[in-house]
Amino acid sequence: MARRWLCLCVNSVFIVFANPLPVTRSQAAGFVLVESPMHLSRIPSGLRYYVGEAARQRRAVEDCAISVFSGWSYQEIDTPAVDYYSLFEQGMGPEAQSSFRFVDADARLLALRPDVTSSVARASATLLAETPRPLRLCYAASVFHQQPRTQAEWRRETTQLGCELIGAAGIAADVEPLLIVVETLNRLGLAGNYRITINNIDIFNGIADHLGLDRDSRERLRSLIDVRDTSALTELLTGLAVPEDERDLFVQVTRLSGKQGIIEAAKKVITNSRSNAALKSLEETWSVISGLGLAESFEIDLGDVSSLDYYTGLLFKVYVRGSGIRVGRGGRYDGLTSRFGRAEPATGFVLDLDELTRVVRPPEFTASRPSAAAVALAEDNVAAFREAMRRRAADERICLEL
């Protein structure tokens, strides 16, 4: 019997045969080797196959996450994979430019969805406007980027595992998504191997207001904090006439992440009222986290100022040992739904299924599966199929010998 072995390489699929097959045998097995044209064998960059065990494991991670989301009463929502580009532009801002775009029959610009949140936000303001709040929605959906954000995040198709909590303000609504992330990672066997950093973006906004920065200097300050460029940040603040002791402490608190102590240090140097309110809120969030005994997995990172125009309060990032890129992100985005005509508070997060699948170790979370029972198709097909159906009814895994 001819056996095919599929062997996956990064971007190309090689079909490797266990033995070189004489033509007659391959024909007997029901397929003929034909030379495939180059342009058909090539796969566009940033896309890949998942085959067999890899595909199953990915599905298992997805099922695990969705079961946790559903355990927290999040309803699944499936959004269209193709939508108007203007939707994503409205929802994501300039980041939408990374999407695959094409035109509809009426010449309006369409895009393959680069995120799910924009579409959920629109639905909550329109389709689900009358549904009682808070709305709890979740999804496992592929998103597409023509240009990956970084070279290490090489995938152009990724699957987001996400939750959106719409219509709830306050600390409890900030913490709920964090706890869902924690439970998901723990159930995937990653306990002790991840770190979630939290920040409140209004701390930065308050400082930028206080210093009276115009748009360009604000962006410059943001990007220097973002890459922790201590020397250039010191130089910039000196230019803005920030007193030396304040300046050095500011550089210090935005450079390092830490626990409660970071907030204490920040309070000494950050005095404007907007930042102070944000610091206070962050402190409350932290006290809930540490009260739950989770402080070990969390850090406060005042230097996380990555997406200013999207988040409006708490924001967080998820890092997992074994992955060099962030595996998840989330936070509060109270400004989003108003762009679709209904202002209401919202929080949420996404986890990267592909990256999670890469770092989990299967036996730690996947239920063991019974080994395959071979079912021979003998002369009497009906009896063999009946046997196969009986075993399936008993939840056994079967493999028909064809």
Binding site: R228, S231, S257, G258, Y319, S323, G324
Partner: protein, 214 residues
């Protein structure tokens, strides 16, 4: 253990000397060897030696937790990295140079020869100057002399190579020096070890400045 990717070549000697002053020492045998990965004597650090332009790649993917590489290489790579410390080694400038008699912009378009196509494109792009970028991998100074390009974008340490080939600097693009670069995930997941490395390196730099003032 932290993995540090170190750019081979121009910067390597100064980087290892600085690390040594910060208490991160390689054994004499390892220093003399041609091994591409070595551990330091305290076994807290593993060094890997790679081409400069590969340092951002190893660090961005998290294969190395951090790296030592010039700012020019980091900017050109466009990699998403943290830059917590200027190591103040291997200082140089990224410049635009042309032949001494050459008139820049006599046509509507500049031909720019460079090893740094991304930096050159961004620099002229911001100024609204249309350019044709001619990517080269070495002896860039030759290009304007022989008429391949109108000007070059390249690194300049002392300016000697430029002078000897009859080129003059017409603009400075950026100052470069050796940087400590860190992977974003490692910065959080190995925060204590990285904070410690930043601290011992900063201390070594402060000591140096102090000695310099004496």
């Amino acid at each position: 253990m932290l993995t540090i990717a170190i750019a081979k070549g121009r910067l390597q000697g100064e980087a290892l000397a600085l690390l040594s002053r910060a208490g991160v020492n390689l054994s004499a045998a390892d220093l003399a060897s041609r091994k591409l990965t070595v551990e330091d004597e305290s076994r807290q650090y593993r060094m890997i030696f790679v081409k400069p332009s590969d340092v951002p790649v190893y660090v961005e993917h998290g294969i190395a937790d951090c790296g030592v590489v010039g700012r020019d290489v980091v900017v050109e790579s466009n990699a998403d990295l943290l830059l917590p410390l200027d190591l103040q080694i291997a200082r140089c400038k990224m410049i635009v140079a042309t032949t001494s008699d050459g008139e820049l912009m006599n046509g509507g378009m500049l031909r720019v020869a460079t090893k740094y196509p991304r930096i050159a494109t961004a620099y002229f792009g911001e100024r609204g100057v249309p350019v044709e970028i001619i990517p080269l991998v070495g002896s860039v100074e030759l290009a304007p002399v022989l008429g391949l390009a109108d000007c070059i974008v390249d690194l300049m340490e002392t300016g000697r190579t430029l002078r000897e080939n009859g080129l003059r600097v017409v603009a400075e693009i950026l100052d470069s020096s050796g940087r400590l670069v860190v992977n974003r995930a490692a910065y959080q997941l190995k925060s204590a070890a990285i904070a410690n490395l930043v601290e011992v390196l900063s201390q070594a730099l402060r000591n140096e400045r102090h000695c310099g003032n004496d």
